[in-house]
């Protein structure tokens, strides 16, 4: 009989919980019309390669750190030596820079290691496409995204390599 009363009381308790939830505001957003505000460090978007807005020089120095750290092994970079840049970040460039977005898991490691803040993530919802090629980011597409970041600054994620290293630096470290 003790178990019967426990069942009865438990039932009432459960029904109280559902009743309380019935009068809460709905958390559903009607997606295409309503959108959730994206956080400042949103990682779900696409990628971009940045360049110096003054001189138009690309920031990537082809060091391949992002290629080495990428857990999904989707980044491929080849190095090209060229003329020294006016802003003094070196004389090496990336020749080929590809990122296969299909397998990206948004871990942000490539951005954390980038010494020149060349690769960044954009604060837009993930681009959905119908083809595999649509998710394959060549250097041209990444540079296009970089140009869009200059036009629409709200699209840029707050996280860049320099900032991420600053934020995660242990206290008292040089």
């Amino acid at each position: 009989m003790a178990s019967a009363s426990a069942i009865f009381l438990g039932t009432l308790k459960a029904m109280g919980t559902t009743l309380r939830n019935a009068f809460r505001r709905s958390t559903t957003l009607r997606y295409p019309k309503e959108k959730r505000p994206l956080p400042a460090r949103w990682r779900g978007g696409s990628f971009a390669l940045t360049f110096d807005p003054g001189t138009g020089e690309e920031n990537c120095i082809g060091c391949r750190l992002c290629e080495y750290i990428c857990p999904s092994e989707i980044i491929a970079v080849t190095l090209r030596k060229g003329e020294a840049r006016a802003n003094g970040i070196g004389a090496t460039y990336c020749d080929v820079f590809t990122l296969d977005y299909q397998a990206c898991m948004q871990c942000e490691l490539c951005i954390q290691v980038c010494p020149t803040d060349a690769i960044v993530m954009t604060r837009a919802l993930s681009p959905a496409t119908r083809t595999r090629e649509g998710l394959f980011l060549s250097k041209e597409r990444l540079m296009d995204n970089g140009r869009r970041l200059l036009e629409e600054t709200s699209l840029a994620s707050e996280a860049t390599g320099t900032k991420l290293r600053e934020w995660t630096k242990p206290e008292g470290a040089a």
Partner: protein, 318 residues
């Protein structure tokens, strides 16, 4: 004759429409309990055309009969589920002395018809030639056959209190006071009936026959298209029949203040009871089969027996 035909067609179409809209109501209420919106985009205010869209979709879908199935029983199953569940509405009085089949023993007839859906479900589970469907149907038979006993004992109470076996007589006996308001006996039998109706109508927490993790879906795994829709409609029709029965024998059926016609009162009471069933359904998780049967034989059955005795003493002492 013509009047009876028109009345039965009316009752049938109203019942079918309500059954279709019960699916919409269930999704809406469930969504509310889970802080969601539910169907929204089909039909301007809150997706009110969703049932229609669902029916259209299910009609258009491919109708598959498995090669190894027993064809006759397989096709008979859905019909055997829907027809008895809808036939029950013929006995429900929708006004003073007004029912499609006004019979002196309409109460036992109604209960017999409500139990017949079991046959259709078992036919479906057996003829599908699928081990999950068969196990699910067997579970249902074990559960429903046991819950039938306390349910009928609980429903004996209104019959004893009113001294009548016709649903019209039971409603008329509630002119003074609803049987749900009879001290202790009324509330106890209502509670017993609601628990048993959950088991009979395969509603959570006693919807053991559709334990997805054990039985894939239910006895209707092999069904698709319109036949699946018939099972779905049959289940909701059965639940609606149970809610209408509870409204009739415990809450005074068509009785109510005169500013609304009798059948509207009956409808309102049934829908309120259905929302109550949904409330229970979306609050509790499914129990195990042994827990369900223990609850039935060790708690509900003795309590129902004692309750019938109390009701008999109450009726004799009046």
């Amino acid at each position: 004759m013509i009047a009876a035909l028109i009345l039965s067609a009316l009752v049938l179409s109203v019942a079918m429409t309500i059954v279709a809209y019960m699916t919409w109501l269930e999704r809406k209420v469930a969504a509310r309990f889970q802080n969601r919106i539910g169907p929204y985009h089909v039909g301007a205010p809150h997706g009110w055309l969703q049932p229609l869209a669902d029916i259209m979709k299910l009609i258009v879908k491919e109708d598959i009969t498995p090669r190894a199935a027993d064809r006759v029983l397989f096709n008979l199953g859905p019909v055997l589920v829907v027809v008895p569940a809808l036939l029950g509405f013929a006995f429900i009085p929708i006004g003073p002395g007004l029912a499609v089949a006004n019979h002196a023993y309409s109460f036992p007839f109604f209960l017999a018809l409500a139990s017949l859906t079991l046959l259709g479900v078992f036919a479906a589970g057996w003829s599908s030639n699928n081990k999950y469907a068969l196990l699910s149907a067997l579970r249902l038979v074990a559960l429903v056959a046991s819950y039938e006993i306390p349910m009928i004992l609980a429903l004996l109470v209104p019959a004893v209190l009113s001294g009548s076996l016709s649903l019209s007589g039971i409603v008329e006996a509630q002119r003074g006071l609803w049987f749900a308001a009879t001290p202790v006996i009324g509330q106890l039998s209502l509670l017993l009936f609601l628990v048993c109706a959950l088991a009979e109508g395969n509603k959570s927490p006693l919807d053991l026959l559709e334990a997805e993790s054990e039985l894939v879906a239910a006895y209707n795994v092999e069904y698709s298209g319109i036949k699946f829709a018939l099972f779905y409609a049959g289940e909701y029709a059965h639940t609606l029949a149970m809610c209408t029965l509870a409204a009739t024998v415990f809450f005074g059926g068509y009785l109510g203040p005169a500013f609304l016609p009798g059948f509207v009162w009956l409808l309102l009471k049934s829908v309120v009871l259905f929302v109550g069933v949904l409330w229970i359904r979306w609050s509790l998780m499914r129990v195990r089969i042994d827990q369900a049967l223990r609850l039935n034989w060790l708690v509900l059955f003795p309590v129902a027996l004692v309750n019938v005795f109390l009701a008999a003493f109450w009726a004799a002492g009046r």
